[in-house]
């Protein structure tokens, strides 16, 4: 078996079940929920996409980005600026994915080819998101514009045109159709990531996470693999940012904020590190709770986020999905005699 089959969420059966469940949700929710519910679910999906980016980068690549919001924000702004200039949304979506990837390639080159340690990667990504926040925040005034798009500084960019049918600018998507587009792309990205992880490339990425020196001695260049993982994750975050902008027709510098980067780490941590389902569930769960908590005005929401983060680090460091998996499937068959010994490590994640 290429992938350990003894866990529900990483075997082939689990994969098919996941995609099926996603498709069922995609087509049944519009029947079950009212318009407000669907719009709400669309932003959950945008954030789940963002969480998937962080979950892939951190859980599989072993790269700790504390500023993934930078790519989310670049994606969102790239979409907003290009759709205002072009008036049609097909190319802007591609730009929203490509722009963060190019930025990640530049930044990642300096980080990974500089061979700085994991913790420094965290600090530098954090720094970069702070720079972007300050930079975009300072662009208020009419002189800051890209083409016909005013950047608007702290006030952000209102009135961003929504997605339209590919190639036809005159027919924008209805909220329900936007939901299909968002959920459809989430399923697509999930399938893509599973494909990547099952491929030779994905297995090298995981091998580097497990033991960088050993992978290097076997002839793989960890710098290149880390850089590529970083770029892929940036593209996914950019798509999430594009969906997010599209959801509210609005984007402001807060997308680059530390709260944004913190939130996505919490989604992954709560959902489960080293799974793809975990980040998605974590994103939906935490956002639901945040909305519930946001309806009261006694306590600042940051306080709640902070408490959740500390509690999970101390008490449930593996996250909900792996914990449930271990609880529900407690007995593992011993690995077959002919299986390489190293497999057990991967199965344990």
């Amino acid at each position: 078996m290429r992938i350990p089959a003894n866990s529900l969420v990483s075997g082939w059966g689990g994969f098919i079940a996941m995609v099926a469940a996603g498709l069922v949700l995609m087509f049944s929710l519009p029947q079950l929920l009212d318009l407000f519910g669907i719009v709400q679910m669309t932003v959950f999906v945008a954030m789940a996409m963002f969480a998937l980016s962080q979950g892939f980068l951190w859980g599989y690549g072993g790269i700790m980005s504390f500023g993934q919001a930078a790519f989310f924000g670049i994606g969102g702004y790239a979409y907003a600026v290009s759709v205002i200039n072009l008036g049609e949304s097909t190319t802007p979506v591609l730009i929203a994915i490509l722009a963060p990837m190019i930025f990640a390639a530049l930044l990642g080159y300096f980080m990974f080819y500089g061979r700085i340690s994991d913790a420094y990667v965290g600090v530098i990504t954090l720094t970069v998101s702070v720079i972007l926040f300050e930079l975009v925040n300072s662009t208020s005034g009419n002189e800051y514009h890209i083409g016909s798009a005013q950047l608007g500084g702290f006030n952000g960019m209102p009135g961003v045109p929504p997605l339209n049918f590919p190639g036809d600018a005159s027919s924008p998507l209805e909220p329900e159709q936007t939901w299909y587009a968002a959920m459809g792309s989430l399923i697509l990205v999930y399938v893509l990531l599973r494909g990547i992880l099952a491929s030779r490339f994905g297995r090298v990425v995981v091998a580097i996470r497990e033991n960088e020196t050993r992978a290097m001695l076997l002839g793989y260049d960890p710098r290149l693999y880390k850089l590529l993982t970083f770029i892929i994750a940036a593209g996914i975050a950019g798509l999430g940012g594009c969906l997010f902008t599209n959801w509210g027709g609005f984007i402001s510098p807060t997308v680059f904020g530390l709260t944004m980067s913190a939130q996505v780490i919490i989604y992954v941590l709560v959902g489960g590190l080293g799974t793809l389902l975990g980040p998605i569930l974590g994103a939906v769960l935490i956002q639901y709770l945040m909305i519930q908590a946001g309806s009261q005005n006694v306590v600042d929401p940051n306080l709640g986020l902070g408490v959740v983060l500390v509690a999970f680090v101390l008490l449930v460091p593996q996250g909900i999905v792996p914990m449930l998996r271990d609880k529900l499937l407690p007995v593992r068959k011993p690995a077959p005699q002919n299986a390489p010994a190293g497999k057990a490590v991967e199965a344990g994640r």
Partner: protein, 288 residues
């Protein structure tokens, strides 16, 4: 000529500010290897201490220079006992947990004081450099930074506590075998670093607005300066602050403060590509 004088003064103030915000992190991160993402919030607590004490009628100098380090040092001590000590050696977990603390403190202060910017009056006036006026408070910042560096150097080099501290950071097992209790030393070091952060917050309160989110503005600069400085915390902090402070102030002078910050951070990323171990990882390795 006057303009050059003013610019030099601004550069000096900028460097001193960097030294102040970095020194506490130098102890906590540079020595203890604890990535404390709540460093900015410790400064924020220090600034709030200064504001609150000043409003309560405490002498402004005591409110700025004495109370913040005491109070924030105490907060650091409690945090080390309840949270950090369980996470030594787990770098990523420490980052996550201290980030949680950072968000929690921001949220807590926003809940108590509201999301508004407060201010402390500057206790000293201004003076003239040729035809230009400059705030005398810049001199206070510079003096505080020099005193901070000198004080830390004296503490680490000439006191018994400093010797034990350095020995424990170098080899905790050997220190324990010689009768030192490493957990106590770690606790003291964390409290010391927190107190220095509190002091920085108190001193910078009059020149920066005091708000719950103010820590975020400092954290990136502080970390990048510690990273740029490398393993020798005092020499490293001094050198890296000088390099980054000069770049920051000169670019700010030519363009805007925001572009100045961007230049600082860009320079830092470039420097980490060239000197991954920081300045003192390559040069002046035997310094302190």
């Amino acid at each position: 000529m006057d303009l050059i004088g003013l610019l030099a003064f601004n550069v000096l103030t900028g460097v001193a500010t960097l030294v102040l915000i970095t020194l506490g992190l130098g102890v906590i991160y540079g020595m203890m290897r604890v990535i404390n993402l709540a460093h900015g919030e410790f400064m924020m607590l220090g600034a709030y201490t200064a504001v609150t004490a000043h409003q309560a009628g405490v002498n402004i100098w005591i409110a700025m220079l004495v109370l913040p380090p005491l109070l924030v040092g105490l907060v650091g001590l409690m945090l080390e006992r309840t949270l950090i000590r369980f996470l030594y050696g787990r770098i990523i977990d420490t980052m996550l947990a201290t980030w949680g603390v950072s968000l929690g403190l921001t949220g807590l202060m926003a809940t108590i004081f509201g999301n508004v910017v407060r201010a402390v009056p500057t206790p000293v006036g201004s003076f003239a450099i040729g035809g230009y006026g400059a705030s005398l408070y810049g001199v206070v910042v510079v003096v505080a930074a020099v005193a901070g560096l000198a004080g830390m150097l004296a503490l680490l080099r000439y006191t018994k506590f400093g010797l034990i501290l350095r020995a424990t950071m170098q080899n905790p097992n050997m220190a324990a075998a010689l009768g030192v209790s490493p957990p106590t030393i770690y606790m003291a070091a964390f409290a010391l670093g927190s107190a220095l952060a509190g002091l920085a917050g108190g001193i910078l309160a009059p020149i920066s607005g005091v708000s719950p989110g103010m820590g975020a503005a400092y954290i990136a600069r502080a970390f990048i300066t510690v990273l740029g400085g490398g393993p020798a915390i005092i020499t490293g902090t001094g050198l890296a602050s000088s390099v980054f402070g000069v770049i920051n102030q000169l670019v700010s002078f030519e363009t805007t403060p925001v572009i100045g910050d961007v230049a600082l951070l860009a320079a830092a990323i470039l420097m980490i590509r060239i000197l991954p171990q920081g300045i003192t990882g390559r040069f002046l390795r035997r310094s302190l």
